[in-house]
Chain length 233, copies 2
DNA sequence: TAGATTGTTAATCGATTAACAATC
DNA sequence: TAGATTGTTAATCGATTAACAATC
């Protein structure tokens, strides 16, 4: 430890893998806190998540010196620090675009609210949905996005529209100056580098699971022979 | 190309990142196919997804030799090959456990069905939900899982229950011999290594997006000064 | 043929893990 | 003090990219 109370926030952008794990650390620290614990070691935190202890220390060290040699990490303090470095120590007003089955489920998803994420405006392209109320919020036409985003300083959009309209809606999101998109549409969005996108394709996740199940050494009966009519290329 | 029609399927487990990208290649190839294309090069496929062309070739080469020098990849054939290596050239009967807002949305999610994933049985712990019908399927008590799984050879479970019961439900899934779990509960599951888990934590995705937005060099006004009361550790 | 594009090797880059002095 | 645990360096491991002979 070179110097004692330094916190290098914002110096370098953390790698994607680090940020994802830090989100998990935060989630698990809150579990420990609810259980009445006050400190935790990197090895115990890692074990609860299936992550190597050196990895835990290195990930946390990326954002500052939070630990105490011989003791571990003070849970309450670390939670506050991680919330700060992740940027979730504030409110994030969100526009939800697309009120299909998935969109409506996301609207009611409790965990978002608990994290400071609050859906404050709804949009859809379907004329039948526009004007309806969901969870106390009116559904607006996408054309109103610019106006609403400006007046409420919305900076995140959750996109749950069909794939074939996702790019055109994304273009409008970008045009409004909204700098972040959580994309549930199963398509890759082209956006300027100043706009951040996190993509969640539920089918891809399930496909990945299928691959893992088929390729995990086990007693699982692989009916591959039923399909191997294909030969060569 | 050492020897001409080899297909090393099942030799080594592909890295996670490779599998995820291959799922995206497949998704994009189907787009090209719908547009009436018959071949595509690694550079064009990569460009449409923001992936380096050498990466595309290397990922595909992991599973076999599918391309033709000077021509590219024949789309229809490659789609079939990738479906096969991913294991989605068959039906996957699925148990959906937890019929909250998210679970009900997943039940109606069209893209699963199109990929061969079919939800064939519903389970919940809430006595008020048990016996109700959703989408033509009755909600069963979790105690019936073993029986139903055995009779229908279910091999994937989608878990959308609250975090505090997720582990105990996962234990029952494992006990039934179901080898794959898609976990939407915001908690890490402890399962034997013979069981595959893919975790999707929607809050973590949104947190990651918030981090990216705050740390992308841009005109985005960072109100961090409102929060920096914290000092030291 | 000339141009295009693959599969693969080598080079680069980044991420993970082991080890340990410093610290409490 | 002895034991525990950090932050960090060095070693390992794996993933990405550039380059190019082989091929169509």
């Amino acid at each position: 430890m070179k110097d004692s109370r330094r916190e290098p926030s914002g110096e370098k952008l953390a790698p994607k893998a680090v940020v994802n794990r830090v989100c998990l650390y935060l989630r698990q620290l809150e579990v420990f806190q609810r259980q009445g614990e006050s400190t935790v070691s990197s090895s115990r935190l890692g074990a609860s998540l299936g992550i190597n202890d050196a990895q835990v220390r290195k990930d946390l060290a990326f954002f500052g010196q939070f630990g105490y040699p011989g003791i571990g990490y003070r849970i309450e303090g670390l939670i506050g620090k991680l919330r700060h470095v992740l940027g979730i120590d504030r409110d994030w007003p969100i526009a939800l675009i697309g009120l299909g089955n998935l969109g409506r489920a996301l609207l009611k998803y409790k965990h978002f609210r608990r994290r400071g994420f609050q859906i404050v405006a709804l949009f859809d392209i379907d004329p039948h949905k526009i004007g309806q109320m969901y969870d106390g919020l009116p559904v607006r036409a996408i054309g109103e996005l610019a106006e609403v985003a400006a007046s409420r300083t919305i900076n995140l959009a959750v996109l749950s529209v069909p794939a074939d309209v996702a790019q055109s809606v994304a273009d409008q999101i970008v045009a409004c100056g909204i700098p972040g998109i959580l994309n549930f549409a199963p398509t890759t969005l082209a956006v300027p580098s100043s706009v951040s996108v996190v993509a969640v394709d539920l089918s891809v996740q399930l496909e990945h699971l299928a691959y893992k199940v088929l390729n995990t050494q086990s007693a699982f009966p692989d009916p591959a022979h039923l399909f191997d009519g294909a030969s060569g290329r």
